[in-house]
């Protein structure tokens, strides 16, 4: 019904002037990865220990917990909501799992699954509050965070839980083939599962649609509330998994387990290009953000920057990444 010549006529060959712009655009699009490689090189230059296999193994372990939390935070962001309670949920649900083993005498596996189930239920509950009660997600999850942090303190009575079974801590300690840790495999599996979810399922497509324009999504036949609840539920499940891995790795649950991850878990997906306005972002970006933050943390420790400066320098590095990304969005869309 259309002569079709217009589209063809409007597409012209990119000219040389446009090419250098394209290169710059490409660089800015991949700024997280380039910055990551640059930092690895810089840290390696200051201390060659940074580039050893042993340290790489260390980085992958460190990145696992942050990565699981980052994925959990990314999901609500994609539907244009937020969940601040995720790190607190991870700590609280892990304590439930540990206490179910040590105090109720459940087998460790059952206890661990119970912990993850609790985390999932908390995610589900957050989703219900935000959709059915129309609570504002920022405030709802903020108060949930405070509740969970308080509950963890009450559960542990301020003490550190260390009575964990051997089975429970296995995954955090086990290695294979020359000392490579097993734990990061869980993260890799989660990354794969999440990319499949986002790219190949109707749920994934709906998540992007709801985040992009919830009103239009509704009239296009997407059950917006259900999608949001599902998103929060999956996110709660990931938080539970992250909590288990963290406890298993550290072989302990402190009375403020998880809380220190809050800012990094939110920063990682955003640095990786997940939009706080919803509908934009992908799994690879989250991975980039997680690795970048981990490399900064580990690197600053290794080149023995005096601890008084670590926070400031790390913050500046994150700031640079975010600023470059903002410039990219401004000029290259």
């Amino acid at each position: 019904m259309n002569d079709g010549t217009l589209a063809a006529a409007k597409t012209v060959q990119p000219q040389p002037a446009a090419e250098s712009r394209n290169v710059l655009g490409w660089v800015l699009h991949n700024v997280v990865w380039i910055w990551l490689i640059a930092l690895v090189a810089i840290f390696g230059f200051f201390n060659e220990f940074f580039l050893t296999i042993f340290n790489m193994q260390n980085i992958t372990v460190q990145a696992t917990v942050l990565g699981m939390l980052g994925l959990a935070v990314a999901l609500p962001l994609l539907v244009a909501e937020i969940d601040l309670s995720i790190p607190a949920n991870a700590g609280f649900s892990a304590a439930i799992g540990a206490l179910a083993y040590s105090d109720l005498g459940l087998p460790w596996l059952v206890a661990m699954l119970l912990g993850i189930a609790v985390a999932t239920a908390i995610g589900f509950f957050n989703g219900l509050c935000i959709t059915k009660l129309k609570m504002v997600s920022l405030i709802e999850t903020l108060s949930m965070m405070i509740i969970l942090q308080g509950a963890l303190l009450a559960l542990t009575q301020g003490k550190t839980l260390t009575n964990l079974s051997d089975g429970y801590i296995w995954i955090g300690q086990a290695t294979f083939a020359g000392g490579w840790p097993v734990m990061p495999l869980v993260f890799v599996l989660a990354l794969i599962a999440m990319s499949i979810l986002l790219r190949f399922t109707t749920l994934g497509r709906s998540i992007y649609a709801v985040g992009g324009n919830a009103v239009a999504s509704k009239s296009a036949g997407i059950r917006v509330d259900r999608i949001k609840v599902l998103t929060y539920t999956i996110s709660g499940f990931l938080a539970g998994l992250a909590g288990f891995l963290l406890a298993s790795w550290q072989m302990a649950i402190t009375s403020n387990q998880g809380s220190s991850y809050l800012l990094y878990a939110i920063a990682a997906p955003i640095i990786g290009g997940v939009s706080v306005f919803g509908g934009r972002g992908n799994v690879l970006g989250v991975l980039g953000g997680v690795l970048l933050l981990t490399v900064i943390q580990v690197g600053l420790a290794i080149i023995s920057v005096p601890s008084f400066y670590v926070g400031m320098i790390g913050g500046c590095m994150i700031f640079i990444a975010v600023a470059i990304d903002a410039i990219r969005v401004r000029y290259f869309g």
Binding site: M1, N2, A9, T201, T202, N213, S217, S219, A220, G221
Partner: protein, 503 residues
């Protein structure tokens, strides 16, 4: 006269567009356009979807810079002028899509950026008083939350804002698209009155009759170039305008009207009650196209939204294809699953997800049918995307382009494609050709006509009398939530509709 503007002495032109071009990456939206607008005139701007009209007025009003060329206002070339600077110079743009802040009141929106203030403090008393005066007679409650206003009121609000901000050049990008015949007349009278006071207008529309009615001069864009125009609208005819727009003659579509009396209905509605709706019974035959019309709030649109599950139904049943009557769908998903599809008239808010691709949008509503156990069947998806991308004639390099980058009319085609892809048994289209150019309008009416021949029942909600007359078998005129009058066969005519609209 045609194809050329007469040279004019400098002082006569308030605004000159000189050799302006604009490119978006590989897409060239404007390729060297020059237009001169006479002081105190209404200058029409016409052209197909994607011809570059919105781009041109966007540049004039400082929304974004041109890639080449310049804008001359009152003989002064303007470089790097942004929206703020242009508004201070008296150039205002009322965009195609309402720019309204939903959580503010109508009054606040009206005074946005022009708040009466004393040393930086907003003078709320004066703001409320001024706004109330401006909104008088417009039917808009100054205290109403803007998010709750319908498309018509939102459009009015935008126009009023520019008019009362002391604009010297006011650009209206398809301002009539959401207005009833009566509202249009009010708007045109208002424009003429301001024109007499020396205000200059640039007026974009896809309706030739509006251009001929209200404009003094006209310029036509085609594919980013100035295709022609005239400084004397009196010398132009509608056919000439169409030919300039399309570059070829226009074959107006006319459906072979059919009588469906006595046929077994495909869909039957009984006792539908909702806000603004109280309708006892309505039957639609397979292959029938029923037009719904009426004043805003009379129930035509509300009925359509209720049976699609977007508005809450208090009571009512639907029976499709001779099946038992069941309650009305409670959500759009249920409606799609029972074979009802609805195309909203509010494309910006309800039509598409702008940041997603054309393909993702086309597939969105029919995705459950093209997936297995939650996994999208990519082959089936790309098949349906390709099919409707072609059939709708969407002007974009590929279906991967984001809907945001399309012209208004092409976004509308994406929405229509999405709805048709669900292969509905009852298709409801709300202002289906709003914002679509005359050429594509005929195509869209033809598509709906062809669809009806496969046995699909169609409800066409429209305020466009011409389209109702050309494309429907029966017209229901709504009042107080019910059907006041039904026109069929030879009774269907533009004059008859005009008359009933006034009654």
């Amino acid at each position: 006269m045609l194809h050329q503007h007469q040279p004019m002495p400098e002082g006569d032109h308030i605004l000159k567009v000189e050799d302006v071009s604009k490119r978006y990456g590989p897409v060239i939206a404007l390729r060297g356009v020059s237009i001169a607008v006479k002081r105190g005139s209404i200058h029409g701007l016409l052209g197909e979807n994607g011809a570059g009209k919105s781009t041109l007025v966007g540049i004039i009003s400082g929304q974004f810079p041109p890639s080449g060329g310049r804008i001359v206002l009152n003989g002064t070339p303007l470089a790097h002028a942004d929206v703020r600077a242009m508004e201070e110079a008296g150039v205002f743009l009322v965009t195609q899509e309402s720019m309204i802040i939903d959580h503010m009141s109508a009054a606040e929106n009206l005074m946005l950026g022009i708040w009466p203030n004393r040393r930086g403090f907003v003078n709320w008393r004066r703001l409320t008083a001024d706004a109330a005066r401006m909104l008088e007679g417009s039917g808009i409650d100054p205290k109403a939350r803007a998010g709750k206003l319908d498309a018509v009121a939102r459009r009015k609000l935008n126009i009023l804002r520019a008019m009362f901000s002391g604009g010297k050049v006011i650009i209206l990008d398809e301002p009539t698209a959401a207005l009833t015949v009566a509202d249009r007349r009010v708007l045109f009278d208002f424009m003429r009155r301001l024109k007499a006071d020396g205000v200059t207008f640039i007026f974009i529309s896809h309706y030739n009759d509006e251009i001929l009615d209200v404009c003094d001069a006209v310029s036509v864009l085609r594919d980013g170039l100035l295709a022609g125009g005239s400084d004397d609208i009196g010398a132009m005819t509608s056919e000439q305008l169409s030919e300039l727009v399309l570059g070829r003659g226009l074959a107006l579509f006319q459906r072979e009207r059919q009588s469906h009396e006595g046929k077994a209905p495909l869909v039957s509605f009984r006792g539908v009650v909702a806000k603004h709706v109280d309708l006892a019974a309505l039957d639609i035959a397979p292959g029938e196209i029923v037009g719904f019309t009426g004043l805003p709030g009379a129930g035509a649109k509300e009925f359509a939204r209720t049976i699609f599950g977007l508005n809450v139904a208090e009571a009512g049943t639907i029976a499709i294809g001779g099946a038992e009557p069941v309650p009305l769908p409670r959500a759009p998903r249920d409606a799609f699953d029972t074979g009802i599809a609805y195309l909203s008239d509010d494309r910006r808010r309800e039509g598409s997800v702008g940041q997603m691709s054309i393909g993702d949008n086309i597939a969105m509503s029919s995705l459950p049918a093209r997936s297995r156990a939650g996994f999208i069947d990519k082959a089936a998806e790309s098949q349906v995307v390709d099919r409707y991308f072609q059939a709708m004639g969407i002007k974009a390099p590929t279906p991967q382009a984001a809907v945001d980058t399309l012209s208004g009319g092409n976004q509308q085609k994406v929405c229509l494609g999405r709805v048709l892809a669900t292969e509905p048994r009852l298709l409801i289209v709300d202002e289906p050709t709003r914002g679509i150019d005359i050429g594509v309008k005929q195509d869209v009416l033809r598509i709906i006509d062809r669809l009806s021949r496969t046995g699909v029942a169609v409800i066409m909600v429209s305020t466009d009398t011409d389209e109702l007359v050309r494309a429907t078998d029966r017209i229901c005129i709504f009042e107080h939530g019910a059907i006041r009058e039904t026109l069929t066969g030879a009774d269907i005519s533009t004059e008859r509709l005009r008359r009933t609209a006034q009654a």
